[in-house]
Amino acid sequence: MDRRKFLKATGVAGIAGLAGCSGGPTESGSTATEESAESTSESTEAETTQESTASADSEVNVGMVYALGGLGDKSFNDAAKRGIERAESELNVSYNEGQPSAAEEFPTFQRRFAQSQNPDYDLVCCIGFAQKSALQETSKNFPDQKFMLVDEQIERDNVASYVFKEEQGSFLVGHLAGLLTNQQFEAGAGSTSGDSKKVGFVGGFEVPLIQKFQAGFTAGVEHADENIEVTSAFAGSFSDSAQGKEIATSMYEDGADIVYHAAGGTGLGVFQAAQEQGKFAIGVDSDQSQTDPNYADVILASMVKRVETAVYTSVENVAEDSYNGGELTTLGLEQDGVACVYGQELGSEIPEDVKSSVAESRQAIIDGDISVPTEPQ
């Protein structure tokens, strides 16, 4: 994988605002993709009138199958959507998307795109590890269809797999949290007391992928100071922000200064708790101080996982006829596939010495001087 291409891709963070209520169709006929919700015009007459903008004049057609959390999670799925939106605006790509609401719908959605003749999809992006087993079957049944899969690997010529070293990025935000909780720090709407030695982690489900976040984070905190306690809890859901709020509140009230979440939509509750309690939080997957600016005043940083880059790159590969089917692309700190991105609002207030320590450990990980565990100790 060409590293430069990735850097180029990550440079842009075009976020399309979601639809507002404008009351019925805008008769202008302009391409409304930037403005509109996905459930609107571009797909309205796709199959029936065969003149959808999506297919007629684009070089590349892409089908997106999102993970179960659904769009609007401000992290994982929204990141994937940013990737395809960018591809759309830069690469003469058009796309169609599906939001499955149950695991058993994955094959249906994958297949719909794979077998569609009109338009004929050049690439089907499958977001999320949960799609693996469904895609194994689908990719077997449609050997001529190109697929890409995020967060899991399938060894088949028509599947390009992208996985991330979440533990590496999590290590950095853990290191950051460990350093900040040990000092008196005040910024935005939050503050750390300096005397507490506690930080928290909120996970969605207790599954290996999320445990990678947890393990990296814990290791990072310990790297800063072995005496800091990391309390962890799982919400049992990627979309229960009320539960996330309760968990985070209990952590803050219990003395934690900073809580890191790897819980999709559940994490929104973590930010809210941070705001109410006047403490800090760390986002995940996207730069959440940007995707959810309401909470920018408590988001210290985000463990960005460049799903959008994976999506964009895979589309670009197809557009440039360099599809890397059968390959596994592993994206760690080195490839800038994961990163610790400081918050838009608070980033500038974080002490430089902290930032440089974090930068050092980043380099140490890249150099192999620090090895980050992938399972909780």
Partner: protein
């Protein structure tokens, strides 16, 4: 007297006689509920079509542009569920020749009526969408039967979902543990699939025995216990799999995949369509068996009697408590079979996030009037809706949750037969010459004459 009134009268008397038959009345009410739900659904589509944003109106009604066109949505819903048997072109305003009028020529399919082919050329009924529809239908027949059997026994089994989860899990575990010790291939399939279904049935039945026994011996309301047991089943199955039976290869909390021969494979339908004609055939046979059981056997009589009137059942020598437990187990076993089929036919393993087939079973059973035979059309309807909803989302942009709304509306309208009776009586005066025997005191039939 004109011929028109005569004809009207004939129709009226026909209707009246039809409505007098309770079974037919049920059917009519179900159909009326369906039609009304579709109409209300159209209203919802139009309204949301005003709110949504799009560049080009899908339809213009009353001079207003709408992003969604209900006619199109319903057409796509149906057409999508069966893999486009009809030519989508007919929706583009070409179906009826606008220049045709009753005075210009006869109404024929080859004549001026159609400008576009009605059917899609080369449509193959054995397509993926049909398989998807039938897959849902098959699963819903099992859960619908499960709920219906309990309903007939006077029990509101909301716990089919939990029984399905448990049944499916046990099926996956039993088959998974037998795979290494049994031969592969057809011989293995002939052994493993029945054993899997059986173990699912047993597990579902035993899990349902809990609320049954609680109802019979502790007088605990089964509606509440089954709701609670649904939550418990989901959580326990999750823990069991994630802690003990986890497929180490996977990020998802799921059991190890079963080998292809140990599952119900697609027969004539495309590979990977997760539908097996064997399962559908099994479901249909089961419908017949249960219908026979309920209507033609002594135990079926016991079950129905204790369902309608437990005191009368006891009077008739039925052990009420035992019947509660056994009918609950029976119902749970059917739910467990649903889980087994889900595992063996759809997933090939057990995985968290089991779809809400059990809840859908409640709606199927209600629409079917708790009649086993009725579950077939009801399951087909909901299967069509579910499968078509994906097409709707893809092709028209209308969110597939619309189908959830339609489902609720259908159930709501089925629940209020009085509404349709009231309408029916306005249209056709049913009581006109239908002098019902009414006891003189207060018009209460069947009351004491004292």
């Amino acid at each position: 007297m004109s011929a028109g009134t005569d004809a009207r009268r004939t129709v009226e008397s026909l209707l009246r006689r039809l409505v007098a038959l309770s079974g037919v009345e049920r059917l009519l009410i179900s159909l009326a509920a369906l039609v009304l739900a579709i109409l209300v659904g159209a209203g919802i589509i139009l309204t949301s079509g005003r709110v949504a944003t799009c560049t080009q109106a899908a339809a213009v009604y009353f001079g207003l542009g709408f992003c969604y066109d209900p006619l199109e949505v319903y057409f796509v819903l149906f057409n999508g569920a069966f893999g486009q048997p009809f030519n989508p072109g007919i929706m583009a305003g070409n179906l009826v020749n606008p220049t045709w009028s009753p005075f210009t020529g006869p109404l024929t399919f080859t004549g001026p009526l159609l400008t576009t082919a009605l059917f899609t050329a080369g449509w193959n009924p054995l397509n993926f969408s049909v398989a998807l529809t039938l897959k849902e239908t098959t699963l819903l027949i099992f859960t619908g039967l499960s709920v219906a059997v309990a309903f007939r026994a006077g029990l509101f089994n909301i716990g089919t979902q939990g029984q399905l989860v448990v049944g499916g899990l046990v099926t996956a575990l039993v088959v998974g543990s037998l795979v290494p010790v049994l031969p592969g291939g057809l011989a293995g399939a002939l052994l493993l699939v029945p054993v899997g279904v059986l173990s699912g049935a047993v597990a579902g039945g035993l899990y349902a025995a809990i609320p049954g026994a609680l109802k019979a011996y502790a007088d605990a309301n089964e509606v509440i216990t089954t709701i609670m047991l649904n939550f418990i089943a989901a959580q326990l199955a999750f823990v069991a799999v994630s802690e003990f039976f986890r497929n180490p290869e996977s990020q998802v909390v799921e059991t190890a995949p079963l080998p292809g021969y140990a599952t119900l494979s697609s027969v004539v339908f495309p590979q990977g369509s997760d539908f097996s004609l064997f399962a559908l055939a099994f479901a249909l046979v089961l419908v017949g068996v249960i219908w026979f059981f309920l209507e033609r056997t002594s135990y079926g009589y016991d079950l129905r009697t204790s369902g309608i009137q437990p005191e009368a059942a006891e009077y008739g020598g039925v052990d009420a408590k035992r019947t509660v437990v056994t009918s609950m187990m029976f119902s749970g076993a059917l739910g467990g079979i649903g889980g087994a089929v889900w595992v063996l036919m759809v997933m090939g393993k057990w995985q968290t996030g089991v779809p809400a087939l059990g809840f859908d079973g409640i709606t199927v059973s209600i629409l079917a009037g708790n009649n086993p035979l009725g579950t077939i059309p009801a399951a087909l309807l909901f299967g069509t809706l579910k499968s078509g909803s994906l097409a709707v989302q893809f092709e028209t942009g209308v969110p597939k949750q619309l189908v959830g709304v339609l489902r609720g509306l259908i159930i709501l309208f089925v629940a209020m037969p009085e509404f349709f009776r009231a309408i029916g009586t306005n249209v056709v005066d049913l009581d006109a010459d239908d002098s019902k025997a009414v006891a003189t005191d207060g018009g209460v039939t069947g009351g004491d004459d004292e």
